[in-house]
């Protein structure tokens, strides 16, 4: 016996909780809209989903899949917050931590960083794997923005923002495999030689400490920052996604 009127409301289950959705929403979008948090890094509600970080991997009717690129369907049974899946998410975070050079104590994004906040929330106590310690550079050429590639997690959010919103294509990827890296659209490769502005969308969306506005690193002191206050899983704010559907989402 069901009390839900199926003609007006369609839903699926995540961890046994009923999640209503609108046709066209991904599992992740529907979950966030319903206040059910699924960890994610490369998803941003204002841009097309990318599906690369794999943090939002869930089991859909028993099969693993990234929830940001899987359409919600009535009657699906999704597992997300399980020891097995969270263990895999910890491993993914540890991979990201050893892939780049993440020295939180000297990073001005500390406390506002989604990578760090997710690692806190999932209880990542160490990077576990041997550090890769890649040699990456810093680009301080731009008057208002600092680029510190050491912390890049290749989420592609800035690439999408600069393309889809700013229409400037300031960022792109080069390299392949472990040598994949973010590049800047200038013959010199320097940010100063682009038309990038601190007011661009792409300047606001980096989930980690790569794209940083200059001269405001410590206006809010360490310890009183966004994720110092509450865990990332408890901070989902109302914003509209690319399709104009109101969803709740955490973005720093």
């Amino acid at each position: 016996m069901s009390l839900v009127d199926n003609s007006t409301s369609i839903s699926f289950l995540i961890d046994g909780e009923e999640i209503p959705f609108v046709k066209g929403q991904s599992i992740l979008q529907a979950a966030l809209a319903a206040g059910k948090y699924i960890p994610h890094l490369c998803y941003h509600p204002e841009f097309k989903p990318n599906g690369s970080c794999k943090l939002c991997t869930v089991k859909i009717n028993g099969r693993p899949g990234a929830s940001c690129i899987t359409q919600a369907e009535a009657g699906l049974s999704v597992e997300s917050d399980t020891p097995e899946i969270n263990d895999k998410r910890r491993t993914l975070l540890q991979m990201l931590l050893v892939e780049g050079n993440h020295f939180c104590p000297s990073c001005e994004k500390s406390g506002n960083c989604m990578l760090q906040a997710l690692a806190y929330d999932l209880g990542v106590m160490s990077p576990h794997f041997p550090q890769i310690f890649p040699v990456r550079l810093v680009d301080a050429s731009h008057s208002d923005i600092l680029l510190d590639f050491n912390r890049c997690i290749l989420c592609e959010i800035c690439v999408r923002a600069s393309d889809e919103v700013d229409h400037k294509n300031v960022f792109a990827f080069s390299g392949r495999g472990i040598t994949k890296h973010l590049i800047v659209n200038a013959e010199s490769g320097r940010l100063a030689d682009t038309d990038f502005l601190a007011t661009d969308k792409a300047a606001q969306v980096c989930p980690v400490g790569v794209i940083l506005p200059k001269r405001m690193g410590f206006t809010i002191p360490i310890g009183r920052r966004k994720f110092d206050e509450r865990p990332i899983s408890e901070q989902m704010e109302k914003v509209a996604d690319a399709a104009g559907i109101a969803i709740r989402e955490s973005s720093p």
Partner: protein
């Protein structure tokens, strides 16, 4: 003939490619062939010419192994680094070449003359060790040939003046069946098809139960049907047919031989497929390693156009228009994955797309596209002539027809063998001259396939048991199966596209783990790490490359664990890096060599 300036060369290439950004890979290849490398200035001119952001063009140039954004010397020598090349002595021969040219692997010589490095399997496993010199294949390397090549390089001899026997590539067809032994005349398959309706020929293909020969084994009839039924979108709706000749799986070389000996049949299969789905354009995506085939394939296409087997109103059939373009890849295994291949055809980095939607509905330029393997299309042409029922009488219940195997490794007669599906591994071994008692393993379908041990040699080639894209690498009892897996771990790390976290980082962590065990510093802990990474790659990777990247380690750990254990330093835990080696720079700078200037990586002290 006047000599073109670099700018004129670039302009000519851009003009030839109609300033079309979807042809970016071809544009970069053609310019590099003329100018040697892709300088920042060149990339900037190209970006302006095709109206793409420079960073995108740089990103594409930086993705493919065969594009160089640094000068790599007038002679760029790449040694095929498949395990079969190694088994034939490539490692020593390459060091010999480096020594004779006075250079370090991967570095350009001081005078800018040459560079020597490794590349993923070049598809010459039956006649290795193989190299590419300026992307032209040379086979059967030995010490004598290395010396000769070094002399030619040092004397600055143009490649066109090198001995022609260097570039001779053998077909080595050892067993023919319906495909390699066919007596079909050019045009037969197409004549047969056009006498029927597209739906009738589709039914014939469905009736044949033909399944894709690239490894996955999806029903070809269903794929063509889904593509045919999908509506093209936008102002210019089209359907496309793509022949996947990006034969990158190490140990596979049957498509090379099919394209050498059966090119007409393959193109004919493409044309039949085009007739079925209603495509007017098709592409052959040919791996960059097979660049040497381009001219002869273009000649086959020209002849087919002249014979009205391609072009407008094919075989006088009103409205049946179809033509084929050849696109060359540029050194990226991932482009064998159909959606990455399509990205590459569109002039982009070869990143597998999010699926669904699948190419049959949203493929090339977002239009319905059927991507089929070379061998599949050749088989489709056969079916067009001889019918689906005939085809289904060959092979087994769930695997109709034949399979062309590429056999290499420890056997007397490596080469191409075509068998009806259902043949046992033991029968194949007997035919190729591999003694059963002296064979310990066969790697079926390459690194992403399965490694089987002697007690499994009764297993059968076919979708019911051992599906394969064709690679069949034989290892005798003298071979170290750890080394095989070690080689494959490097392959996957090199070929991961870098899109998703688990594959990008995981394949490198696996490689590092295998390097550590190889160097004699491993422990049981590292073995457990391999299993841990395997579980993540299976669950969370974006595409098949990540899903299968751990297979070689997983299989050999199951079946040949002593090959690992005898290299382990201890059963507990060993440092992640070589402790004594990490004092080397300080020793060098201080000139010290006393006892305290060394660290033993010794398990007892470590306990």
């Amino acid at each position: 003939m006047s000599i073109q300036t670099p700018l004129e060369t670039i302009d000519a290439v851009l003009a030839r490619n109609l300033d079309n950004p979807t042809r970016l890979i071809q544009i970069l290849r053609e310019i590099q062939e003329a100018l040697g490398w892709l300088s920042p200035e060149v990339l900037a001119i190209v970006a302006r010419g095709i109206r793409l952001p420079l960073a995108r063009v740089k990103g594409v140039a930086g993705f493919y192994s065969f594009f160089h954004t640094q000068p790599m010397g007038r002679y760029r020598v790449l040694w095929s680094d498949n395990v079969t090349d190694r088994m034939l002595g490539s490692t020593d021969l390459m060091s010999e070449m480096c020594k004779k040219l006075w250079l370090e692997p991967g570095r350009v010589s001081e005078d800018g003359l040459a560079s020597v490095a490794t590349t993923s399997c070049t598809g010459m496993c039956d006649q290795g060790p193989a190299i590419l010199v300026n992307y032209r294949a040379i086979t059967r390397l030995n010490s004598q040939r290395v010396t000769h090549i070094v002399d030619l390089i040092r004397s600055n001899t143009p490649l066109t003046d090198w001995p022609t026997e260097f570039f001779q590539i053998d077909d080595n067809i050892r067993r023919r069946d319906i495909l390699l032994g066919n007596s079909i005349q050019r045009g037969d398959a197409l004549r047969s098809a056009t006498q029927q309706s597209p739906l009738a020929i589709l039914e014939e293909i469905k009736r044949s139960s033909l399944r894709g020969r690239g490894g996955a084994g999806f029903s070809t009839g269903l794929k063509l049907e889904a593509c045919r039924n999908a509506r093209g979108s936008g102002s210019n709706p089209e359907h496309y047919v793509i022949c996947n000749a990006d034969e990158g799986e190490p140990g596979t070389f049957k498509d090379r031989v099919l394209l050498t000996t059966q090119a007409d049949l393959v193109f004919e299969g493409m044309t039949v497929a085009a007739y079925v789905v209603g495509a007017r354009r098709g592409f052959l995506y040919l791996r960059g390693e097979y660049r040497y085939l381009l001219d002869s394939l273009e000649a086959v296409l020209s002849r087919r156009r002249a014979d009205r087997l391609l072009g407008h109103n094919i075989l006088e059939k009103d409205g049946f228009d179809f033509d084929i373009e050849i696109h060359l890849g540029a050194g990226a295994y991932i482009c064998g994955e159909e959606s990455a291949l399509i990205e590459s055809l569109e002039g982009k980095r070869g990143i597998p797309r999010i699926r669904p939607p699948f190419p049959v509905t949203h493929g090339y330029l977002n239009q319905p596209t059927s991507v089929n393997n070379v061998e599949t299309l050749a088989a489709a042409a056969l079916i067009s002539v001889k019918g689906g029922d005939w085809f289904r009488t060959i092979g087994t219940a769930k695997s109709s027809g034949t399979k062309v195997l590429s056999i290499s490794g420890d056997c007397d007669r490596p080469g191409i063998y075509e068998y009806p599906f259902g043949v046992t591994v033991a029968e194949v071994l007997a035919d190729c001259g591999a003694e059963l008692s002296k064979t310990q393993a066969v790697q079926i379908s390459g690194p992403s396939g399965i490694c089987i041990s002697a007690e499994e040699f009764k297993r059968r080639i076919g979708f019911e048991d051992l599906p394969t894209a064709g690679a069949f690498m034989v290892f005798n009892t003298q071979r170290d199966m750890f080394e095989v897996a070690h080689n494959f771990s490097h392959f996957f790390a090199h070929e991961s596209c870098g899109f998703c976290t688990p594959c990008r980082v995981g394949t490198t962590l696996l490689k590092n783990c295998m390097d550590k065990i190889e160097a004699g510093h491993g422990s049981e802990y590292d073995i457990n790490e391999i299993f841990k990474i395997n579980r993540l790659l299976q669950t969370a990777s974006h595409c098949g490359l990540g899903h299968t990247a751990c297979n070689p380690m997983f299989d050999t750990l199951q079946k040949f664990k002593p090959a690992y254990e005898r290299r382990l330093k201890s059963l507990a835990f060993e440092p992640a890096f070589d402790l004594d080696e990490t004092l080397s720079q300080a020793r060098q700078m201080t000139g010290r060599d006393d006892a305290a200037a060394h660290l033993e990586s010794n398990a007892e002290e470590n306990s």
